[in-house]
């Protein structure tokens, strides 16, 4: 490079006002390679996925949950026993080759019941998260997008609901409605969506003032389009994290309600109901009846929590290295 410039200097007539054209020749070897895109461009989601993939603990949680989901579907069919089939001859059998997780005090197969319980517990958790998502996103979205007086009024209502003690309201509702699968989900979501609404509203308030939203508006986009195309995709990160953390909360709440006798009722059996039924085994030594449901509640909550933490890190562009 140096030789090139000194060379051209020799030809210059110091009195000329013209700049010689060969000064403007591109440098040797400096083609446009610096401007070509070598790697494929990464979307937000691809980028998040790559970061999540390198987080082994979170991936462990995800894999556990996928396996759990598969077992919840096929698990009950792997044994010849049904969920509620009792057998007086086989009460409290320890785990063996015939009863893989043992049997309970009515001779029911714990292995079958564990996966059946997984269905119920996961169903309660996922439904609660989905309902919270739907109500929370609509409520928070409208509140944040409208702003002003509407926002003020809607947030006052949220503030009051937020102040109500969550589990006490749930208990009260279930005492009145009577516990069943649908009333439990209903009770868990009556005030459960408030957290989601607050998160969505905060995000929308922030994002609606960004330039790309103004640009979209000035191109004449309708409100519905702005919400669908501009606001929602950009709030999805925190929403997904919140949903991941709602599922274990709901699973725990259902188990907690089972302990108060307000869990899902016969013939259904959730992990919480199984654990509560097995409480008496502390003294009798039939540990398997308590161990399996308790283990799967804890492991599932653990998996959802670490996955939620991992997603939180992966979906936050500010934490990008």
């Amino acid at each position: 490079m140096k030789s090139h410039t000194t060379q051209s200097h020799d030809h210059i007539d110091p009195n000329s006002k013209e700049i010689p054209l060969d000064w403007f020749k591109p440098l040797e070897g400096s083609s446009d390679s610096s401007n070509t895109v070598v790697r494929p461009s990464l979307s937000y989601w691809k980028d998040a996925w790559i970061r999540l993939r390198s987080n082994y603990i979170a991936m462990g949680g995800l894999i556990f949950l996928i396996l759990l989901g598969i077992m919840a579907i096929i698990g009950p069919y792997l044994t010849p026993y049904s969920v509620s089939e009792t057998s007086l001859a086989n009460q409290n059998q320890p785990p063996s080759s015939t009863y893989w997780f043992g049997t309970d005090n009515l001779g029911r197969d714990v292995f079958t019941r564990t996966w059946y319980g997984a269905r119920i517990s996961l169903f309660v958790g996922i439904m609660a998260a989905l309902i919270d998502f739907t109500v929370g996103v609509i409520y928070g979205g409208v509140s944040g997008y409208k702003g002003g007086r509407t926002d003020n009024l809607m947030m006052r209502i949220v503030e009051i609901l937020y102040g109500l003690p969550y589990l006490l309201v749930v208990i009260l509702l279930l005492v009145v409605l009577g516990p069943s699968l649908s009333t439990i989900i209903l009770a868990l979501t009556v005030t459960g969506w408030v957290g989601m609404a607050r998160i969505v509203r905060g995000q929308v308030l922030q994002i609606k003032n960004y330039e790309f939203v103004h640009a979209s508006k000035s191109f004449g986009a309708k409100t519905s389009r702005i919400i669908r195309k501009n606001l929602l995709p950009n709030t999805m990160g925190p929403i997904i994290v919140q949903m991941t953390l709602t599922v274990p909360t709901a699973i725990f709440a259902e188990a907690f309600l089972s302990f108060l006798g307000l869990g899902v009722q016969f013939p259904f059996a959730s992990w919480g109901v199984m654990a509560n039924d097995a409480l008496t085994t502390i003294l009798s030594g039939h540990w398997w009846r308590l161990f399996f449901p308790a283990f799967f509640i804890s492991a599932t909550m653990f998996a959802f929590n670490v996955l939620g933490d991992g997603l939180q890190d992966a979906l936050d562009p500010k934490l990008r290295r």
Binding site: N152, M155, E159, I160, G163, L164, P165, Y166, L167, L168, V169, I171, L172, L173, V175, V176, P248, F252, A255, F256, F259, L260, G261, L262, A275, N276, L279, I282, L283, W287, L290, A294, I297, S298, A299, M301, F302, N305, V306, D309
Partner: protein, 310 residues
């Protein structure tokens, strides 16, 4: 500040009123009303109910009488226990529950903060990973699982502790541990993350540069500020501890308020459910109110009256 306190106070009264009204409406919505004669076991009970709820009056009058009784902290009779009122049960059970709850919350605070600070000071070290592993496990393992595990291992198998009830300090260790672990884990995580943030601030560098002893920097300068987020979640933690006592008292057969509450749910003793719910809610809402005010007093950077709407 005064305006803020007044506003919070008004919100608190409003919340308690909503809970009380909700309770009243829900209980009256039960098919065949819990106060019907078929539901009650004997005449003394029916008389108690009549006297307290004035069942011969129209519902709206009943409602105002009910509100008045709550305002005067009279929570009504029990259906299943003819000789007891909700107030009797509260007087008997609440001190025990309060004892359990206060010990648990102190244990959770102290151990959670220590764990969080250690983790932050040894960021990405072995202590950090260990502490956070304990924290995630503490959040994931439900308190009833932990409680049964503790009873089975330390009381039944090893025989170190008594299995149940609430008599000597030895009886208190297992229930307290079972109740405190969850909140401890939450406090530890929160303390760690806010400590990590505070430790990068300029005034910490300044304090270090002045040559202050490391423990003084940590305790006087860093921890004081790092604990603010912990104060904000005290209300939530308290609610968790309170509902936790229902399960823990049931498992350990502790004769506290939580046990009576669970009993009343199982026996569908509606006046007790009503009274206890309102009492618990009022207690929690009041605690939240105190936490909010404490937060305002502790952190001079926050101008409380500007906080609204956020």
């Amino acid at each position: 500040m005064i305006r803020y306190i007044l506003k919070r106070f008004f919100m608190m009264i409003l919340t308690i009123w909503i809970i009380a009204t909700l309770t009243f409406v829900l209980m009256n919505a039960i098919p065949g009303s819990p106060f019907n004669e078929e539901r009650t076991s004997n005449e003394a009970v029916q008389e108690n109910l009549e006297r307290h709820f004035n069942l011969d009056e129209p519902p709206i009058v009943q409602y105002f009488i009910y509100l008045k009784s709550i305002a005067t902290l009279d929570f009504g009779p029990s259906i299943k226990k003819p000789n007891d009122t909700v107030n009797d049960l509260l007087a008997r059970g609440f001190p025990i529950s309060a004892e359990l709850g206060i010990i648990a919350i102190l244990v959770a605070l102290v151990s959670g903060i220590i764990l969080g600070v250690l983790a932050a000071l040894r960021h990405n070290g072995i202590i950090d990973y260990l502490a956070m592993m304990i924290a995630v496990l503490g959040i994931s393992i439900p308190n009833f699982v932990l409680a049964t595990l503790l009873i089975q291992q330390l009381a039944v198998n090893a025989g170190f502790f008594p299995v149940a009830t609430w008599q000597s300090p030895m009886h208190m260790i297992l229930p307290t541990l079972a109740l405190a672990t969850g909140p401890m884990a939450i406090i530890a995580r929160l303390t760690r993350s806010s400590m990590l943030e505070v430790l990068t601030q300029d005034y910490i560098k300044m304090a270090r540069a002045k040559g202050l002893a490391p423990y003084k920097v940590v305790i006087k300068h860093a921890l004081k500020n790092a604990l603010m987020p912990v104060v904000t979640i005290m209300g939530t933690l308290l609610a968790g501890i309170l509902t936790g006592t229902f399960v823990i008292e049931k498992i350990f057969a502790i004769p506290g308020m939580g046990k009576y509450f669970v009993e009343s749910i199982n026996q569908r003793d509606y006046p007790v459910i009503m009274g206890t719910t309102v009492f618990y809610s009022a207690f929690l809402v009041f605690a939240l109110f105190l936490v909010d005010i404490a937060y305002g007093l502790l952190d001079p950077r926050i101008k409380l009256h500007k906080e609204e709407g956020n």
